[in-house]
Symmetry: C2
C-alpha cells in the first residue's frame, strides 16, 4: 500500500482519465489508502500515533534546545510536517520533524543569528528540496557514498554528546567545536553544579535502562506484561522528562532553583506568518540577499543531506527499497515550506521515531495525524509547565538518543574490506568534528569520488600471449572501460607489454562498457605506434553498442579484419554477452584476415 | 636514443654499480647520447639549432610583449631553459622557452603587478613541477581531458588575437577580456594610426605568405631552391622583424616616430639574482606570503598546464609516445627554477618551435645549445636595436603564430561523435574567454568528470529471461562496474525487471571490473529484497579478483551454489576471461545447487 508497487493502475475510465487519476494518486498518496481505510487500521494507527507523540514531544523540545532555540520552536517544527505527511507521504513509518542532524546543522549555520535566519533556512531548504524533486535531481544524493553517511552520522553523535555535556553538568559557556567543549569543561570543572550532574546521571541511567527493558525475556503467555514493558521502553523520553520536571516543580524555590531550568516558554500555538525575508541584527535590518549570503552554501547542502536522510529511512522501512524518491522529495520540500509559515526549524524524517512507529504496528501514514494532535495539545496546554524542564534532563534525552548512532561496525567492516573507503569515512568524521558537517559532506563526497577515480585510473589489465599458426599474438583484456582518465596509461602499458614481440595485439572489447572520444583517440595513437613497429592492433568482440557509437572502432576492426568480417561485425547481436576465451585458431583467423 | 626505450641497460660492472649508472643515465640523459655523439650529428644539430634560434628570438620578444613585460624578459626566459634541456631533456625536438599559453597565463595572473611577481611565479611553478615529478603526481594531468585542452588552446588563440589587435592598429588602451578589447577598438576607431595598421597588415600578409612558401611544389632535382624556400619559410618571424625594424630605423624621426616602437630596452645579459621573495608595490614592501596569496591558485594551476603542454609535445614527437614523464617534469621544474635566477617568465615546451626543430632535422637535444647561444648573442649585441622593433610587427608575429591554434576540427569531430564532450569543450572555451584560462581548466576538468560520472551512473544493463528445467531465471549483465554512484540505481532496476516472475536472478559478474563496498551492500539488500519475494540472487562468473576482495560475494555465491561449487569458485583462474553465453542447462545447474 505504501510503496511504489502499490501504483499499479486499476482499469476503468478512459485512457486519459486513467492517466490523470494515476498521476493524482501518485502525487497525493492518501488517495491510495483512504478508500480502503478501516476500523482495525484506525485503531492500530491511533495506538502508534500516540506512542510516536510521546517520543516526538520530548525529542522536539530537546532538539530545539540543541539548536540553541527556545524549546517551543521544537514543537512548532513537529506538527506541520507530521500532519502533511498524512496526505503526501508514501512510507507509513516516516515521521517528519526535528532530528539531531537537522538541529546540529541549524546550530552550525545559524549560530548567533536571530531565529528569522533559521526559519528562512527552513523555507529555502524546502524550496530547494521541492525543486530537486521536480527537476529529478535526486541522483545528486547518490554522490554521497555510505561511508560518508556513516562518517558524518557518527560525528554528529560525538558532536552532540560533547555539546550536551555542559548541560548535563550544569555548566554555561559558549563553545563551537568538540575540543573547545572539552577544554571549557575541564577549565570550569569546579563550577559543576552537583544537583544538575546528579539529575543528568540519573536520567541517563534510567533512559538506558528503560531502553533495555523491552528486551527482558517474558514468556509468550504474559502478553499484557510484555506489552506494558514495551510501552514503558518506547515512551521513556516522555516519562523521564515528566518525572524530572515534576521533581523540579515540587522542589522549586523561585530565588534559588535546585536545577537549571528551560525557563520561560512562549505559550500557545505559533502565529501564522510568511517566511521572514528580513531580520534585525544589532539594531539594523538585514535584507533577503544578505541573509542568504550569511546562510551561504548551507542553503544547498542542507537540502541534500535532508533528502539523503529521508530517502535512507524510507528505503529502510519500505520492502525491497522500492521508494518513490521524487514523491518523497516533493513531500519533504512542501513540509518544510509549510513549516516555515509557523516558525519551524528544518525538518526531515527521523530514524529513531520511524523505528518507534514501526514497532508500534503502524498501518498507514494516518498515525502522523494523532502524533501531530498530541504536539498541538502539548503546545496549547503544557507550554507553561515547560518552564520546569531541567536542562540536564534534556541533555540526557539527547545524549541517550544519539550515542548509539556512532557506527563502529561500519569502521570494523571497512577495515576488513575497503581501506580506501575507511579513509573517506575518517575524513568525513574528522572534518565534521573539526569544522562543520556541511563541509564534511562535501569533503567526503570528493573523497569518495577520488577513490572511484583512482580505481578507474588503474584498471585491471590482463594479457596472454597466444602462439598461432600466423605468428604470436598478445591478447589484452582491459577491465571496466577506456576513458580519458586511464586511456593514456592503458595504451602505454599495452605498448610496454607488446615490446618488439608479437605480430599483433588483439584487444578484447567484450567487457568494455565505457569508451569515450579521448580513449578512441588514444587507441588510434596506439595503433599508429604499433604499426611503426610492424605490429597490428586488432579489436575484437566489439559490441554493437560500441560499433554504433564509434564507427572509428569499426573502421579499425574492419581494416584489420577485411570486408568479410566488417559485414559480420555489422550483423552482431546488440547485446555484449561474454564470449568464450579466444582460442589460438580463432586468433590466427583474426590475424589472417 | 631520445625516448625511454633507449634506457635498456648494457651489461658490465657489478649489480649495484649497474643500478647506479642506470639511475644516473635516467636522470641525466645527456650521458646516453654524448658518448656516441659524432660530427654528422653535430652538423645537423648546428643547422637545426641556428634555425630554431631564428624562431626563438622573435617569438620570445613577442611573448614578452604579450605578457606586458619589457621585451628583454622574453630573451632572459629563452636561453636558460633551452640550454639546460641539453643536459636533462629526453626528447630532442622539445624547446623550452616562453610560449603563448605561458605568456597569457602570466598576463592574466600578474596583470598590474611588478615584474618580481612574474619571476616568483616562475620559481614557484618550477618548484611545484619538480615536486610533481618527484612525487609522481603526473597522473593529475590525466584529469584534463583532450576536449579541455582543445577548448583552452583555441580560447588562448582567440584571446591573444583580440589582445594584439590594438597593437596591430596602433591603439593604446587597457582591456582585460575579449569583449572589452573589441569594445575599446570600436570606441577608439578614429584614433587608429594608419602607418601602424598598414605595417601590421603587411607583416601579417608576408608572414602568412612565407608560411605557405615551403609548400610550393619544387621538383626533387632543384634541392637547393627547395631548401632555400624552406629556410625562408622557417625563419619568417626573424626576417619580418628584421625588415620592419630596419624600415623603422631608416624612417625614424626622434620627435614624431612613424610607428609605435618597442622603446628602450635594458641592454646586455640579465644579472644573476635569487628569486625575489619581496616586491615594492605602491611605495610599500609586499612580503613572500602576501605575494603568494596575490598569485593565488595559479601557483598550482600553471604547473599543471605547463606539464600538460610539455608532455603533450614530448609525446607528439617521441615515437610511440614512450615518454619518461617523471624525467620531463623534473627537467621542466629545474629549468623554471634556474630561469627565475635570471628573471625569466614561466616557460615550457612550445609546439611551434618543436615542429621547427623536427623539420630542421635535429638529431640530439644539443641543438638547444646553439639556439641558446643565439639568444645570448642577441641579448649582448642586438638589444640596442630592439628599440626600433615596431609594436605592430610584434602583434603580427603573435597573431600569425596563434591563429592556427584554433582547433575547429576537434569541434567538428566531437559534434559527430560525442556531444557531451563538446559541451565540455564549449564550457572550457567560454570560461577562458569570459574569465581566465586558469579557471577554465578547472571548470573543464570538473565538466569532464561530470560527463564520466554520468556514464558511470547510468550503466548499460541487459537482461534476458531463460527458461530452464528448474523454472525461469533472469540473467542480468551489468556493464562496467557496480560502484556507489550506480549501485542503488542498478539494484532498483534489477528489482523492477525481476518483478514477480522468475525463480532467480543470475547476475553475471564476468565483466564486473569495479565493485566497491557500497555496491556489495546494495547487492546484499537486493538479495534480501528478492528473498522476500521468494526469489534468489545467484552471482556467477565471479572472477578470483572479486572473490578475493569480497568474501561476501563468495558467500552469496556459495550459499546459492552449495559446498561443491564453493570449492570450485576458489580454484578459479585469477584472470577474468570472457565466458560463453549462459546456456539454459547451465542456468538450471546454477539454480539446482
Amino acid at each position: 500500500m505504501e510503496c511504489e508497487e502499490g501504483l499499479v493502475p486499476r482499469g476503468g475510465g478512459g485512457k486519459r482519465a486513467g492517466r490523470w487519476r494515476r498521476a493524482l494518486r501518485r502525487r497525493l498518496p492518501v488517495l491510495r489508502w483512504l478508500p480502503r481505510y478501516d476500523r482495525v487500521s484506525a485503531v492500530a494507527d491511533l495506538v502508534a500515533g500516540v506512542t510516536l507523540g510521546l517520543t516526538l514531544v520530548p525529542q522536539s523540545i530537546a532538539y530545539a534546545s540543541l539548536a540553541n532555540l527556545p524549546v517551543q520552536y521544537g514543537l512548532y517544527s513537529s506538527f506541520i510536517g507530521t500532519m502533511m505527511y498524512v496526505l503526501l507521504g508514501t512510507v507509513k513509518e516516516v515521521s517528519i520533524g526535528p532530528t539531531s542532524l537537522m538541529a546540529l546543522f541549524t546550530l552550525q549555520v545559524c549560530r548567533g543569528l536571530p531565529v528569522e535566519f533559521v526559519v528562512l533556512l527552513t523555507f529555502l531548504s524546502g524550496c530547494v528540496v521541492l525543486a530537486m524533486g521536480l527537476l529529478r535531481l535526486g541522483f545528486l544524493v547518490e554522490l554521497i557514498s555510505p561511508s560518508v553517511t556513516s562518517g558524518f552520522t557518527s560525528a554528529t553523535a560525538v558532536i552532540i554528546v560533547a555539546a550536551q555535556l555542559k548541560g548535563l553538568l550544569g555548566l554555561s559557556f559558549t563553545a563551537e567545536t568538540v575540543v573547545e567543549n572539552i577544554r571549557c569543561i575541564v577549565a570550569k570543572w569546579d563550577d559543576i553544579r552537583y544537583a544538575d550532574a546528579a539529575l543528568g546521571a540519573v536520567c541517563c541511567s534510567v533512559l538506558l535502562l528503560l531502553r533495555k527493558v523491552k528486551d527482558i525475556p517474558v514468556s509468550e503467555k504474559r502478553g499484557r506484561l510484555r506489552r506494558a514493558l514495551w510501552l514503558l521502553s518506547i515512551s521513556r523520553n516522555a516519562l523521564v522528562v515528566l518525572a524530572a520536571s515534576s521533581f523540579a516543580y515540587l522542589t522549586h524555590h523561585p530565588n534559588q532553583p535546585l536545577f537549571k531550568l528551560s525557563g520561560r516558554v512562549e505559550p500557545g500555538l505559533p502565529s501564522l506568518a510568511p517566511p521572514p525575508f528580513s531580520a534585525a541584527v544589532d539594531n539594523s535590518t538585514v535584507h533577503f540577499v544578505d541573509m542568504v549570503q550569511q546562510l551561504g552554501s548551507a542553503v544547498l547542502m542542507l537540502p541534500v543531506v535532508m533528502v539523503l536522510a529521508n530517502i535512507a529511512i524510507a528505503k529502510a522501512f519500505c520492502a525491497g527499497g522500492r521508494v518513490d524518491a521524487t514523491q518523497e522529495m516533493v513531500t519533504l520540500g512542501l513540509c518544510n515550506m509549510a513549516g516555515s509559515l509557523v516558525h519551524a526549524m528544518p525538518t526531515c524524517g527521523a530514524f529513531t521515531r520511524s523505528a518507534v512507529s514501526h514497532a508500534s504496528g503502524v498501518r498507514t501514514p494516518a498515525a502522523g495525524l494523532y502524533s501531530g494532535i498530541i504536539t498541538l495539545l502539548a503546545l496549547i496546554f503544557l507550554t507553561q509547565y515547560f518552564y520546569f524542564i531541567p536542562k540536564a534532563c534534556l541533555s540526557a534525552v539527547l545524549i541517550c538518543a544519539v550515542v548509539f548512532m556512532v557506527d563502529v561496525s561500519a569502521v570494523r567492516e571497512l577495515w576488513r574490506r575497503d581501506r580506501a573507503e575507511l579513509c573517506v569515512l575518517a575524513l568525513t568524521f574528522g572534518v565534521s568534528v573539526a569544522r562543520t558537517v556541511e563541509l564534511a559532506v562535501l569533503a567526503g563526497a570528493l573523497g569518495s569520488l577520488a577513490v572511484l577515480l583512482r580505481q578507474l585510473m588503474r584498471p585491471a589489465l590482463s594479457a596472454t600471449t597466444l602462439k598461432t599458426e600466423a605468428g604470436s599474438a598478445l591478447v589484452v583484456h582491459a577491465g571496466a572501460g577506456l576513458v580519458y582518465v586511464n586511456a593514456e596509461r592503458v595504451t602505454r602499458r599495452v605498448l610496454a607489454l607488446a615490446g618488439a614481440g608479437p605480430r599483433a595485439v588483439l584487444l578484447d572489447c567484450g567487457a568494455l562498457a565505457l569508451l569515450d572520444h579521448a580513449a578512441m583517440q588514444a587507441l588510434e595513437r596506439l595503433a599508429a605506434a604499433l604499426a611503426a613497429a610492424g605490429q597490428r592492433l586488432v579489436p575484437y568482440n566489439v559490441s554493437a553498442d560500441l560499433l554504433h557509437k564509434y564507427e572509428q572502432l569499426a573502421g579499425v576492426e574492419r581494416r584489420a579484419a577485411g570486408p568479410r568480417a566488417g559485414r559480420r561485425a555489422g550483423r552482431r547481436a546488440p547485446q555484449s554477452a561474454p564470449r568464450a576465451p579466444l582460442a589460438a585458431a580463432e586468433a590466427a583467423a583474426l590475424l589472417h584476415r
